[in-house]
Structure formats: structure tokens, C-alpha cells
């Protein structure tokens, strides 16, 4: 179908974007890569909207080495996650996630910020930032705000971002020697949304495991994490019964999802064991 938009303006910089957003009347959306937004517009799911294009806002583009942390600008494209040397070195989970996201043509436009703000529970990056215990950075008329990934995802396509805030970037703690990252997913075809996926990060022996495709938001499997910390994979798989309550849809039943979540947990754990020391 043909998209409908009542108006368009391009933001020159972050302050301009925030001012435009604050002053806008009616249903107004920020557009960056547009890979999710334009698809929704084409399906006429968005109604009468006007667009603020933040795709060229310089402040959102940089990846900055902050010593112990890495600050990744919201406009970092999915393609860049796999090639930016800082991300590859210090946040490899994101680099590993990149090739799983859709296809090259989508990755050339889609952005980290866009994916996180869209908050599709079947997407890779929201689960990754939970696994990384990242901090999301937002900016609005009231200034900057730091939001823990665990607090960011509120519901289906719903985040903690206020209507007048712009997601400006993500801050992750750099990995250190001995840390492990694994992302695995089950999708019927390469590039499809995952039926179930797992993003796992081990930091100084402690695990953070976030599943995607199992609920309205990426789910941190806390009991399973505890068991993994104790080195008990069987207990971790069993703990998923309490951690996860997956939905039933045309892609899979709850039982199927619960079962394969366990399979993925085993495979992720085995993968982390197999990774060499360094």
C-alpha cells in the first residue's frame, strides 16, 4: 500500500530535533533509517503522521571510546555494528548480532537507536542491550537521561522514552579478558525474525541471558542466570520454566518456544565454554 504522511521536516541537530518534537502538534514520529517505520507506513498501520527526520543529526552518529565504556550513537547502522573496530573489539555481542538482522539492504539503513526505540520483542538488539546491562541515553527538553536497559522496555513496542525524548545512544561497559558473548536464534529463513533467540553475556564469571521472541519484551532469565553462574546447565534449563512464559502464535506454540529456548540455552552455554581463553 502507499504510505501516508501529512508533513516532513529535517532536524539540523539534536537541539533542533528536540525543539521540533516538543512543539509538534498531532501524531509526530522521528524517522532515522525508517526500516520499521516506513514498513508500518506502507501497511497503513500508522495513520496520519508527520515526520521529523533525524537521520543526519551529527550528535547521534559517533562511536566514542570512553575508557571503561563505549558510547555508541543512536544512528549507528546495523551494518556498522559489524564493522566498526571499537564495537567489534569492545562490544562483540552487537557485532555478532548484526549479520542476524534481516538482510544487507536493511542493515545499510536500519539503526541501533531505531531498533531499540521500536522495541520489537522478536528483534536481536533489544535483547542484546539487556544482556549487556547497557545504559540507554535519552535527551529531551528536560535534558539528558540515563535509562538502564532493564528499565527501558516496558511492553509490546513500548519503551520508557517520553514522547518528547530522543534516544541518543547506548553506553556499554567494555568486555574484558575472559568475558564471553553469544547470540543464537532460530528463524525459519535467514534474516527472518527469530522464533526464539538468546543473547548471552558472561562478565567476570557472571551471566546475563536475555531471550527474544518469548514475550512482549526481551526477557532476562534470572533464575537460569543464577544456575549458570553456579555452573549447572541442567538447573538453568529447568529454571526456564519459571523464567519464561512464551506466547503462542502462528510461528510457534508456547510449548515449542519453551522447549527450544532450553535447546538454545544449552547451545549458548556450550559455545561459551568452547571459546578460547583470552
Amino acid at each position: 500500500m502507499k504510505a501516508a504522511a501529512t508533513g516532513y521536516v529535517r532536524a539540523n541537530d539534536l537541539a533542533h530535533a528536540i525543539a521540533l518534537l516538543a512543539n509538534a502538534r498531532g501524531d509526530t514520529r522521528l524517522i532515522a533509517g525508517g526500516q520499521s517505520l516506513v514498513a508500518s507506513m506502507n501497511l497503513r498501520l500508522t495513520g496520519e503522521i508527520q515526520l521529523i527526520d533525524i537521520g543526519r543529526v551529527k550528535e547521534l552518529q559517533d562511536v566514542v571510546d570512553g575508557g571503561d565504556t563505549l558510547r555508541i550513537g543512536a544512528l549507528t547502522r546495523h551494518a556498522d555494528l559489524a564493522t566498526n573496530p571499537l564495537i567489534v573489539a569492545h562490544a562483540p555481542l552487537l557485532a555478532q548480532a548484526s549479520p542476524l538482522i534481516a538482510h544487507a539492504a536493511i542493515r545499510n539503513r536500519g539503526t541501533l537507536g531505531g531498533s531499540l526505540a521500536h522495541a520489537d520483542p522478536a528483534a536481536e538488539l533489544p535483547a542484546c542491550v539487556r544482556a549487556l546491562d547497557a545504559t540507554l541515553l535519552a535527551c529531551g527538553p528536560r535534558g539528558e537521561r540515563r535509562i538502564a536497559a532493564d528499565a527501558f522496555f516496558r511492553g509490546l513496542f513500548e519503551t520508557d522514552l517520553a514522547g518528547d525524548e530522543v534516544l541518543t545512544g547506548v553506553e556499554v561497559r567494555k568486555r574484558r579478558a575472559g568475558d564471553r558473548d553469544v547470540i543464537l536464534e532460530l528463524a525459519r529463513r535467514s534474516g527472518d525474525y527469530a522464533i526464539v533467540g538468546i543473547a548471552a553475556a558472561r562478565r567476570q564469571g557472571l551471566h546475563r541471558v536475555a531471550f527474544f521472541g518469548v514475550g512482549d519484551i526481551p526477557v532476562l532469565a534470572r533464575d537460569a542466570m543464577t544456575a549458570l553462574d553456579q555452573g549447572d546447565i541442567e538447573a538453568a534449563v529447568a529454571a526456564l520454566a519459571a523464567d519464561l512464559d512464551p506466547p503462542h502464535d502462528i510461528q510457534g506454540s508456547s510449548s515449542y518456544r519453551r522447549h527450544v529456548a532450553g535447546v538454545l540455552l544449552r547451545r549458548a552455554s556450550a559455545a561459551m565454554q568452547e571459546m578460547g581463553d583470552e
Partner: protein, 794 residues
């Protein structure tokens, strides 16, 4: 003259060679001309208001707000269009008992499936038309929807068309021999229930039509993405009350069709009717979302199959009970009963046995209408047959190849009439199986499978024999009263410089029709292939023909082209004979030069003959015929169908933890008679196999109980993409048909016919040691795990 097909060094030998397609270079440059690429002066666009209900009365339509919207020019309802367009009823006399209700171009009074058009908005652009359509206010009273196949005939299920009495569209029972007796005395009787998913074609170019009624000339010109332009010419003429001579249908480049585009769609007829009323070009391009609910669906079947075998593994009887759910209307003009009818006609096809019983029950539903889609009924019949044969082999502890050896019709048993009453002129089941086992290295694969099992890797090999009907005679549709042409024609003409133009009634949708015709004509006339231009898809220009369907292009269209080319050769040689003072039968044409037949010595270039005939006719004998243009039409007469045969194999790996299937490799040996262009045939088979794999593993139109199609998007209706598909090795056996000079049967659908059966058998071969079996397609990972007992399901 006869062509010595066996001699590859014969002159002008194009038949049997893999020459590149003449239309490919423009397509790789983006210079195709698909309907949506065409812009005509004063052209408007139509978008349809479609029912959101599976079944509802239309109480009123208020187009006020729509008409006030920017760019909107007109709004039409079903009542408006019925004044200029008559309804149709899709039945065929030879399908006894088939009944259906009249269907209008736009629904009148009642919408009967989600997506059925209830109004049309005409505007300056598609976007404006969509905006307008969103503003049309339709008052519906929802009615109960009939959406369950098995209860469609139950007494308390509402009848969709009360005047028809019940929801039974068609039922046919066929019996041969004594099935009950055979079952009673059998060594083993095996039953299974199979399900095939409801599919849709997902042609990448959606349905497209640009209808242009010229009021001054009272002519209708339709640019149409269709397989059968002459049939559509007849349909538009009949239903819009125009003489056929005033209707022209043109097919340019068509972006895939697979049978989806050979049917009459109400919204396309509505587009033509709107143009008739408005006197302006009207363009309708179905977008992807509406394609899912308005393109025809197919293959929604549940089949209970039973096979009886003796101790030696000989098949004693096969009993089939097929149920299929169509839409609320039989689709025009080929009807929605053919698919079920084919299941009855095709089960057990490759095998030599006497006792057969098969019934199909075709029921109406408030879902998208269904009709013929690539390999119509064959994938279902082959899956059921080959599945039962494998289960019989399992029950006997016999190798699946061995049981087939014991039952496939012998290669020297022809002509042969099957217990289905299907007549086979000449097939090669055993030779094909031999070749398959050779190219796949069957023993080697069994060793690989065993070795993998020792490592805990679960692999399976599946074999599927099949028959495939091609080159249909009027026995398929014509005898039922449908204006569907089983004959076809070709005009071949020589222009002054020796250029050859061939006009054919069969059409191109990418399979290589134009290349095939160029090869046949080049060889028939005796010219280099670069000198032949082929024109198809224009009813004003080509002989009246049937278009492309049921794999008839090469067998029927190609034969007409060959006959016409040979006839032109004779005409040219008659003139040449007069010019050279030689008997025409001592002359031949090779590489566009008239030569001495015996010595090959060159006598006269065609260009010289052209010059004389067209510009110096005064130098030729007065009564010499000098028509350098010949038309021939061809129709099959001996056999209702030219059956082909093939056998496929699939090697799969099953992940028992996730249920995911990996297709390791696929093989197909196909006997389609004379192969005109090996590369094109192989590629058609490959494309067909992948389409069949789609049905086996991925594709399924999912309806909820209210008749809503819940997965109507490219993200949720899963079609095969490159990463998951295997490499496919293709080989051929050639058993030409003696019905025609060319000897070609058809090949376009064979890949799709046998692939689901081969994949199913491979999966079951893999799962057998784990005690599991699957028979319900598509074989999703979840269905695999449920069969294994790993997952119970909600």
C-alpha cells in the same frame, strides 16, 4: 520433411540445444515492460474497497466522503457495474454435479470472503485511490462464516448459497476392480491421513491490468499480466457485450504466473468494465497485501489413503478419500473442482495395480476462492501415493526402491490404461529410476546416512515417482463447454531480407516460450536463430490460441510452430525451385541459404528470394504460389493428455532438538519427451522443485475460525529464499510422443509435482528410527517435534 532429431550435426539444429533466451538481455538491463511500467494518456488508477468480513450482507455503501477526497474521480459499486458487466458461473458440463452461484465483478448484496471487492475507487494515483477507499463507508451485517472443511456439509452448518441447497460444490467417486475384496485378502493394509496446506502463488509481479476502452472506436485494449490472452479476449467480449474483434488483449512481460494468472478475477474484469464506462485507461495493480487474499489459493486438502499389499510387496489396492475446501464460488472458467478431480485421476499413477477407489468431495467455504496452481492436484496425489508406498515398504521391512521396482509400470507395457482410466502412451518409470539411483549414488547415500547416524546426526533419503499431465486436449475443458482453447496456432512469415517473424498463440512468463519457439522455427525454416523474431501475447496479431497452462507451450505451441516453419520452408522452396529451374524436393534451406539437398552446394540466399517475391514478382511464373507466410494450428487427437513421468529424491538432515530440516540435496530425473532447450527445461524443473519444497516445508495460508487470513504478508506467509534451498541435480530420459513431429511433452510443472512427496519421504526416512512420522504439510519444526513427542502442543 522429417527431422532427424537423433543427429546432433544435422543442419539448422536448434532443437535440443541450450541457446540463451532472446528476451533475457533486456530483462537483465531492467528493460522489461510489465503492465505497471505502462503509462497511457489520461490514465486513472483503481483501488478496491474490500470486505473485512468472511461473510456479510452489504446493507449500504456511502461514497460521499471518498468522492470529496483529493484526486478521486468516481466510485463504483456492484450495482453500478452489473449494468455493464454480466456475472458468470464457473461450472463444466463434464464435471457432473458441479454447481456454483453467479459471481459478479464487484459483489452485489453480499460479500463472501475477506478481501472480496465491494466497491471500486477511481483516482489520479494509486495513493489517492487508497485514500479514497479508506473513506468509503460500507454498512455490513455480518453473517455466519463457513470455515471448517469437514463440517461444511453438516446439517447445522449454514449454507452459503441457499439456492444451491448445500455447500457441496462437487463430488466424484471413481471405482475400478474390487477394492474391498483386495483389502480383505491383503497381507498388509496401511492407512494414513495426509494434509496439504492451503497455498497461494506469490508471483513477484502482482496481478496487473491496464484496460483502455476507446469510446471513439468502441474498442477495448487490455494490457494484462495473464497467461491466456485469447481466453481473456473472449471473456471481456462476452461479459462486456463487445464483439471479440473489438477486444485486444496484450501481454508484455509477465513477472511470473504459475497458473495464478490464468483465471478470471472479478477485480480485473471490474477494471475493464470501469474503463468501458469511463472511456479512459484504468490501471489496477494488486498490492502484496491484497494479493494474499485475492489471488487464487490452492491445495487445501485432507486425504485419507489406504494401500493394500501382498507378501511380495505388490500393490493390490489403493483407496483414497479426498476432501478439499474451496472458496464461496467456483473460479471462472476452469472451475475449482479440477484440482480434486485430478487427485482422483492421479493417485497411484506410476503403478501397475487393478483395484482403485477414489472420491473427492469439494466444499464451499467463506475463504479466498481456489483454482489451478502449478501442477494442479499432482503434488497432493504424488505425496499421498508415494507416502503410502513408503509406509507399505516400512510395514514389509522392504527398501523403498525395491517396492517401487516391483510395482512401477514396466517400461515396455505401453500403451497402458491405469485403473484411474488415464491412458499413457509411453513412460519410462524404470529407466528414470535407474538413472536417478545412478546420479544420486543411492548406495553411497545410504552409507552416508548410516555413518551420520552413528555420530548422532539424523538424515533421511526420500524417493518419489510421479506422473504429470501435459499437452491437454479439449477433454480437459472444452468438452465441458468452456471457451478454453486446447489447440494452438503459429504464423511464420519471411520478410524481404530473409528475416523470419513467428506469431504464436502460446505465451511467455519467463519459462522460455519465446526461445523455444525461436529454436523450433529456426530449425523448421532453416535459418540462424538470430534471424527469427517471435511475437506472442497479442490477440490482434497472433493466431487464436490457448496461451500457457498445463505445460502445453512446447508440446502444442511448439508443434504448431514447427509445422508452420516447415510449411514456410516448402513455400520458399517452391519459389526457389521456380527461380532455379529445379524440383523443390532437390533443394533445402540451411542457414538462410537455399542449397542443393544432396551436395549442400549453395544456390540462392533467402534475401534474394525475398527481393524477387516482394519487388520483382513480374519475373515469376504467373500461377506460382508465392505466399511467404504460413499458418498452422495443432491439436492433440490420440490422447486426452500427454502424460510424462519422473522420479525425484531428497536428502535431508533433521535437527531432533529444534525440528529444523536442512535440505542437503535434491535430484530429479524427468522424461518430458523431446527436450527442445535442455537448460530451460532444467531451470523450469529446478524452479518447480523449489516451489514444491515451499509447500512441503513453509507455505500455508492460515485462517482463523472467522475466516480471517491471519498471515497475509511476506513476513508471515513463508516462501522459499536462497539460503535454505538445496542444489538440485537434474537428468533426463527422453520418450518422445508419437502424436506430433516434435515429440515434445511438457515439463513446466514436473518439479512441483514430485518435490513435496520426495521431501516428506526423506523426513519420514530420517524419523523412522526415532519412531515418528509426519503427514501434515507444511512440515514446520514444531510439527516435527510433535511427531517426535518432544513437544505436546498447547
Amino acid at each position: 520433411m522429417t527431422i532427424d532429431f537423433g543427429n546432433p550435426d544435422r543442419p539448422n539444429s536448434y532443437i535440443g540445444r541450450s541457446v540463451p533466451r532472446p528476451n533475457a538481455p533486456r530483462l537483465v538491463e531492467g528493460r522489461g515492460r510489465y503492465v505497471d511500467d505502462i503509462v497511457l494518456p489520461r490514465m486513472l488508477h483503481v483501488a478496491f474497497v474490500r470486505s473485512p468480513h468472511a461473510h456479510a450482507r452489504i446493507d449500504g455503501i456511502d461514497a460521499g466522503a471518498a468522492l470529496a477526497a483529493a484526486g478521486v474521480r468516481r466510485v463504483f459499486t456492484g450495482e453500478d457495474l452489473r449494468e455493464v458487466c454480466t456475472p458468470w458461473v464457473a461450472v463444466l458440463a463434464h464435471l457432473k454435479g458441479l454447481k456454483s452461484a453467479p459471481q459478479h465483478a464487484i459483489a452485489v448484496d453480499r460479500a463472501c470472503w475477506v478481501g472480496e471487492a465491494v466497491a471500486a475507487v477511481v483516482a489520479d494515483s494509486r495513493a489517492a485511490a487508497e485514500d479514497g477507499a479508506a473513506l468509503v463507508d460500507v454498512d455490513y451485517t455480518p453473517l455466519p462464516a463457513v470455515t471448517d472443511m469437514r463440517s461444511a456439509l453438516a446439517p447445522d452448518t449454514p449454507v452459503i448459497h441457499p439456492e444451491l441447497g448445500d455447500n457441496l460444490a462437487f463430488r466424484r467417486l471413481h471405482e475400478a476392480g474390487d477394492v474391498e475384496g483386495a483389502m480383505a485378502s491383503a497381507h498388509k493394509v496401511i492407512k494414513a491421513r495426509f494434509k496439504t496446506g492451503r497455498h497461494t502463488g506469490v508471483c513477484l509481479e502482482p496481478r496487473s491490468i491496464l484496460a483502455d476502452y476507446n469510446r471513439a472506436e468502441r474498442t477495448l485494449t487490455v494490457h494484462h499480466s495473464t497467461q491466456a490472452p485469447h481466453m481473456m479476449q473472449t471473456v471481456f467480449a462476452q461479459h462486456l457485450d463487445l464483439p471479440e474483434g473489438k477486444v485486444r488483449v496484450i501481454c508484455g512481460d509477465v513477472g511470473g504466473s504459475f497458473g495464478i494468472k490464468v483465471h478470471v478475477y472479478p477485480d480485473e474484469v471490474a477494471t475493464a468494465a470501469i474503463s468501458r464506462v469511463m472511456g479512459r485507461p484504468i490501471k489496477f495493480i494488486a498490492d502484496r497485501v491484497e494479493s494474499f487474499s485475492t489471488d487464487i489459493h490452492a491445495r487445501d486438502h485432507e486425504i485419507d489413503g489406504t494401500i493394500a499389499v501382498d507378501e511380495t510387496g505388490r500393490i493390490l489396492a489403493i483407496d483414497i478419500d479426498d476432501w478439499t475446501a474451496i472458496g464461496p464460488y467456483s473460479v471462472y472458467p476452469r472451475t475449482s473442482a479440477i484440482e480434486g478431480n485430478q487427485v482422483v485421476n492421479l493417485c497411484g499413477g506410476p503403478y501397475d495395480f487393478q483395484n482403485y477407489r477414489a472420491q473427492t468431495t469439494v466444499v464451499f467455504q467463506n475463504k479466498t476462492p481456489t483454482c489451478q496452481y502449478r501442477a494442479v492436484g499432482h503434488p497432493i496425489a504424488a505425496a499421498v501415493t508415494e507416502g503410502l508406498v513408503d509406509f507399505a515398504a516400512e510395514a514389509l521391512g522392504m527398501d523403498p526402491v525395491e517396492i517401487r521396482r516391483r510395482n512401477l509400470i514396466a517400461d515396455d507395457a505401453y500403451p497402458f490404461t491405469a485403473p484411474t482410466n488415464m491412458r499413457f502412451e509411453g513412460l519410462s518409470h524404470h529407466a528414470s529410476l535407474d538413472r536417478l539411483l545412478e546420479i544420486m549414488d543411492y548406495e553411497g547415500l545410504r552409507r552416508d546416512q548410516a555413518e551420520a547416524r552413528e555420530r548422532g546426526v539424523v538424515r533421511g533419503i526420500g524417493i518419489a515417482s510421479f506422473i504429470e499431465l501435459t499437452n491437454p486436449s479439449p477433454f480437459m475443458y472444452g468438452i465441458g463447454g468452456a471457451r478454453i482453447s486446447a489447440q494452438d496456432g503459429c504464423t511464420v512469415r519471411m520478410d524481404p531480407d530473409g528475416s523470419i517473424v513467428a506469431l504464436s498463440g502460446v505465451t511467455e512468463q519467463g519459462q522460455g516460450t519465446e526461445s523455444m519457439l525461436a529454436q523450433v522455427v529456426a530449425e523448421g525454416v532453416g535459418v540462424p536463430i538470430g534471424q527469427v523474431k517471435v511475437i506472442t501475447g497479442d490477440t490482434q496479431v497472433t493466431p487464436y490460441g490457448g496461451g500457457t497452462w498445463a505445460s502445453r507451450g512446447a508440446g502444442i505451441g511448439g508443434e504448431a510452430a514447427l509445422q508452420a516453419g516447415l510449411a514456410l520452408r516448402r513455400s520458399i522452396l517452391e519459389v526457389a525451385g521456380a527461380m532455379l529451374q529445379a524440383a523443390p524436393d532437390t533443394l533445402d534451406i540451411r542457414d538462410a541459404v537455399v542449397v542443393d539437398m544432396a551436395s549442400g552446394g549453395e544456390r540462392l540466399p533467402l534475401a534474394e528470394i525475398g527481393r524477387i517475391v516482394y519487388f520483382r514478382g513480374d519475373t515469376l511464373p504467373r500461377d506460382l504460389p508465392r505466399e511467404l507466410v504460413q499458418t498452422r494450428h495443432y491439436i492433440t487427437s490420440e490422447y486426452p493428455f500427454a502424460f510424462t513421468n519422473g522420479v525425484q529424491a531428497s536428502y535431508v538432515e533433521v535437527d531432533p532438538d529444534t525440528g529444523f530440516i536442512r535440505l542437503l540435496k535434491h535430484w530429479c530425473v524427468e522424461d518430458c519427451g523431446r527436450v527442445i532447450n535442455p537448460q530451460l527445461v532444467d531451470e523450469q524443473i529446478r524452479g518447480g522443485i523449489v516451489q514444491g519444497i515451499g509447500g512441503a516445508l513453509y507455505e500455508e495460508c492460515i485462517y482463523d475460525p472467522d475466516g480471517q487470513l491471519v498471515n497475509a504478508s511476506m513476513a508471515e506467509y513463508l516462501v522459499p529464499m536462497a539460503s535454505e534451498m538445496p542444489d538440485m541435480q537434474i537428468a533426463h530420459v527422453e520418450t518422445p510422443t508419437r502424436e506430433s513431429t516434435l515429440g515434445a511433452k511438457g515439463a513446466g510443472e514436473a518439479g512441483t509435482a514430485g518435490a513435496p512427496a520426495a521431501v516428506m519421504n526423506a523426513i519420514n526416512d530420517a524419523l523412522r528410527p526415532l519412531g515418528a512420522r509426519v503427514t501434515e504439510m507444511p512440515f514446520t519444526p514444531e510439527r516435527i517435534l510433535r511427531a517426535l513427542g518432544t513437544v505436546a502442543g498447547d
